[in-house]
């Protein structure tokens, strides 16, 4: 203890006055997280008002379009179940086609929500508060869409429960050495914790909607889900602890899910799949695509509901910069794969990468590289980041590019595998197309329902990052 006392770490230890006398911070104020000094009341009215107002016409139109599109998935799956997996474009040697491409695509999108909520929470990044709720909702809906593909790929979907190690009459037991089985556990755990995290965060805001409700039905409906929240100190204490624990629990989960998805490919011997950088590269790609989708969804909502004071230019800047950073990391991985394929001097590996870039699927590789590495570089420029419509277009490029990345990885390696006699070319059938594009309808339907019935911005959390929530605010004389 005596030795420890030699290290004065206490926050009350005074700094040398001669140093403090020279401390004169340069004037570079931090951007505001809520513009125009909005009050607590304004924030509540703005966000809860979206749930309380009469359903707007655009919502009905969008909902009708989304459900119509979702019906494509229903049609595709119905035809698949009634006929067999052969109706998909899967054929030797490409036995993993759009099914796994779509699965990885949607799982990747499902990363941003929990990343924003959990990792940015642990990193104490206050700007996450206005976008975390919608991003978390998006995560859950994306994971739901992702789950469709492997479940139906098993062929007899009614036996999908065999994926779990449950005793059954046929003594069929899953292969624990397969990363596909690890996916079952990783994705289901991730989905469960994401739902819990989302729901815990919603409770204070559901209580606000309940307290403002004018009809008895709304009061009961939101009251049930608010779980008796009263906003007491004890409520908040438990809430903060639960939120922190879930953030801590979610963080390794976010990383583990896409790591295991990358293992689906990387544990094999297939050229182009067996590469050690896959785990962090997939995680970076997932964050990249997730932020792409957050931008795609949040920018229109910001415009429609006039949320410019809550989702500010600073928020858009931050999201663009993360997209730029992760896009560049993905570019690093593409480069490293190519370089090590050449440096490793394995002829199969070299062929796989030359084939990717210059072979029959070069169109897909070029699309992938352009959308994922080149286009996000526009975010270096402030003038681009300040134009929401341009940002939105780039975010679409990101979504497209990330789908193509999974397509390139999956299909190009299988189409030109070890035996030239079995080389083939993959073409999706109409069932593939229906099922995949329909999932955008499923996703949109769920997201529209979320926008309509739940507060799409975390009201309580946004209030906590406003200047007036700072205990020192009034000491500094910034009264309203």
């Amino acid at each position: 203890m005596v030795f420890s006392d030699q290290f004065p770490l206490d926050s009350k230890t005074p700094a040398p006055p001669e140093v403090m006398a020279d401390v004169k911070p340069a004037d570079l104020p931090r951007p505001k997280l809520v513009e125009n000094d909005r009050s607590f009341g304004w924030i509540t009215n703005k966000v809860c008002g979206i749930v309380e107002e009469k359903t707007p016409t655009w919502w009905w139109v969008a909902f009708a379009c989304a459900t119509s599109l979702a019906s494509f998935t229903v049609i595709g799956l119905t035809y698949l179940v009634s006929t067999g997996v052969g109706v998909w474009g899967l054929a030797n040697p490409i036995n993993w086609g759009w099914a796994i491409v779509n699965f990885v695509f949607w799982i990747g999108i499902g990363h941003a929500g929990t990343l924003i909520s959990a990792i940015l929470c642990l990193l104490k990044q206050p700007w996450r508060t206005t976008i975390n709720r919608a991003a978390e909702a998006m995560t859950i809906f994306a994971v739901a869409c992702a789950g469709i593909f492997p479940v139906f790929h098993v062929g007899r979907v009614w036996f999908a429960w065999w994926l779990f190690p449950l005793p059954n009459a046929n003594a069929i037991w899953p292969n624990f050495r397969s990363p596909l089985l690890w996916d079952v556990f990783a994705v289901s755990t991730y989905a469960t914790v994401s739902v819990l995290f989302w729901y815990v965060g919603l409770i204070p805001d559901l209580a606000s909607v309940r307290d403002r409700a004018k009809s008895k039905f709304r009061k009961i409906f939101y009251g049930i889900f608010a779980m008796g929240w009263r906003g007491s100190t004890r409520n908040w204490n438990n809430y903060e602890m639960a939120y922190l624990l879930l953030a801590g629990l979610s963080t390794p989960l976010v990383l583990s899910v896409h790591t295991i998805v990358s293992f689906d490919f990387a544990v094999s011997l297939i050229p182009g799949w067996h590469t050690t950088i896959f785990p962090p590269y997939f995680v970076a790609g997932a964050i990249f695509s997730g932020f792409g989708m957050v931008l795609t969804l949040m920018l229109p909502l910001r415009a429609i509901y006039g949320l410019h004071d809550l989702i500010t230019q600073h928020h858009i800047d931050c999201m663009c910069k993360i997209t730029l950073a992760t896009g560049t990391i993905v570019g690093y991985a593409y480069t490293m794969e190519f370089f090590i394929a050449a440096y490793g001097a394995n002829p199969f590996e070299i062929f796989a990468f030359i084939n990717r870039a210059f072979g029959i699927y070069s169109w897909a590789y070029i699309t992938m590289f352009t959308c994922n590495v080149v286009t996000p570089q526009l975010f270096w420029f402030k003038c681009i980041r300040e134009r929401p419509h341009v940002v939105w277009v780039i975010s679409i490029f990101v979504n497209v590019g990330m789908w193509f990345e999974r397509f390139v990885i999956t299909v190009t390696s299988l189409a030109r595998e070890f035996l030239p006699s079995s080389w083939g070319y993959y073409s999706p059938t109409w069932v593939d197309v229906f099922t995949f594009f329909g999932t955008f309808g499923v996703f949109s339907t769920l997201f529209l329902l979320f926008v309509r019935f739940l507060p799409l911005i975390a009201v309580a959390e946004v209030k906590a990052v406003t200047p007036q929530a700072d205990p020192h605010h009034y000491e500094e004389g910034e009264h309203h």
């Binding site: 030795f3 420890s4 030699q6 290290f7 004065p8 770490l9 206490d10 926050s11 230890t13 005074p14 700094a15 040398p16 001669e18 140093v19 006398a21 020279d22 401390v23 004169k24 911070p25 340069a26 004037d27 570079l28 931090r30 390794p252 990383l255 790591t259 293992f263 990387a266 544990v267 094999s268 011997l269 067996h274 590469t275 050690t276 950088i277 896959f278 785990p279 962090p280 910069k321 560049t328 690093y332 991985a333 490293m336 794969e337 090590i340 050449a342 440096y343 490793g344 001097a345 394995n346 270096w380």
Partner: protein
């Protein structure tokens, strides 16, 4: 532009105190010369161990310097507030690149001008690898001219970046102009990309290519993770030393800063394990002989125990230790874990470098593990010069960035 940080009594150097920088410089030079004599004697007798001792210690200090450079740039691009009081220490640390660049020169002399060019990197000896089919397939990259150009490019870039970041930071101490912050952010933004690429290439050139038969796409990421761990542990020790017995950082570096440093150390402990495990696991599972031999060599002799030490010491123990809040806020406990991490970081470099110098080249027999006296002289020699470089920079600037826009945030930082 005047960058003289002559303002005030905040200047760190105090009159009447012993100037440790010269002691470190002379001590460092003496040990480095002894080390170089060892390299020369080893070279004339065909014994590479002293040269490998120098390479391991060079890689050790280089990794810490690169980690500090990345931490400085990450601080800027994230617009971080809490770490501003720590940043000045990082800026002193990144002053070492010109000297590290010079310390690398003996390796170049041996490889380019001596009668045994393959003494360090086997592939430099064209006659020895002439019949090696793998060399023939890789010689488009493993070229002597490219290697030399890369050396100048890596060090040129790191020295330039470090110089710019240090100069702008000191300039802000004088005039308090926020434009310096914007310039530092700009240089950090491209600098991170440049450093990521050059760090990867340098780790391939100088470490991985000792065993040029082997390859892994993850290698650059491993070196990044290892560098960050080393740099964080060193900077925590430096900050703690500077509050010891009410040292110059007292009242500025507080428990909140130490706690947050501990948290980042925990995060990078997990990240290092994630990277190292992923590399090992994917190679193990695929079981392709041209990849697995690298790990097989490291399971022989005492290397097995070093491997286990990395798994249980560098990861598991550190991970569990840093999970506990109290271990991250008590100075003495943090000093312990920082020294622990630094020791294992060095062992990690031994693990990556030394076995690749095969004892029996054709049989893939790894060089046995041992800590030689030449390792110690190289450690003290390069360390002395790095310490001199650090103190020299420290003596010529203010203890903290006095006029940084975020300095108040950092001074008020309580953590948690």
């Amino acid at each position: 532009m005047s960058t003289e940080a002559t303002a005030t009594g905040a200047i760190a150097a105090s009159p009447g105190k012993k100037d440790w920088s010269k002691i470190f410089l002379f001590g460092g030079l003496i040990f480095l010369i002894i080390s170089l004599i060892g390299v020369y004697m080893g070279f004339t007798n065909g014994k590479a161990r002293p040269a490998y001792g120098l390479l391991i210690m060079f890689s050790f200090y280089l990794s810490i310097g690169l980690g500090m450079l990345l931490l400085t740039m990450i601080h800027h691009v994230f617009g971080s507030g809490w770490s501003t009081v720590i940043r000045r220490q990082l800026e002193h640390g990144i002053a070492i690149f010109p000297w590290l660049g010079l310390i690398f020169v003996p390796f170049l002399l041996i490889s380019y001008l001596s009668g045994d060019p393959g003494f360090i990197w086997k592939w430099f000896d064209k006659t020895a690898v002439e019949t090696d089919v793998l060399y023939q397939a890789k010689k488009w990259y493993l070229g002597q001219t490219r290697f030399l150009i890369s050396y100048f490019m890596y060090f040129g870039g790191w020295i330039y970046l470090a110089h710019k970041l240090r100069t702008y930071s000191k300039a802000q101490d004088v005039d308090g102009d926020p434009k310096w912050t914007k310039k530092m952010v700009f240089h950090s933004a491209w600098g991170i990309i440049f450093t990521a690429l050059t760090l990867t290439a340098a780790s391939i050139d100088w470490i991985k290519a000792i065993e040029f038969h082997w390859f892994s796409t993850m290698y650059g990421v491993w070196f990044f993770a290892a560098s960050m761990r080393g740099a964080l542990a060193v900077v925590a020790l430096i900050c703690l030393y500077q509050i010891y017995k009410h040292g110059p950082l007292t009242g500025m570096f507080k428990r909140g800063h130490l706690y947050d440093l501990g948290c980042i150390m925990l995060a990078f402990t997990v990240f290092w394990a994630y990277i190292s495990f992923s590399q090992y696991f994917l190679i193990y599972n695929a079981n392709i002989p041209e990849e697995t031999f690298w790990y097989n060599m490291r399971e022989e002799g005492f290397w097995w125990w070093i491997s286990m030490g990395l798994v249980f010491g560098h990861f598991l123990f550190t991970f569990i230790y840093l999970l506990y809040y109290r271990n991250k806020i008590r100075a003495i406990r943090m000093i312990f874990i920082c020294c622990w991490i630094i020791t294992f970081h060095m062992l990690d470099l031994y693990f990556n470098i030394l076995p690749s110098k095969r004892e029996v080249y054709d049989m893939y027999v790894p060089y046995p593990f041992a800590i030689s006296v030449w390792d110690i002289t190289a450690f003290l020699g390069i360390g002395g010069i790095c310490a001199w470089s650090f103190i020299r920079s420290w003596n010529s600037s203010n203890i903290i960035p006095l006029k940084d826009p975020r300095i108040d945030e950092s001074l008020r930082h309580h953590g948690r």
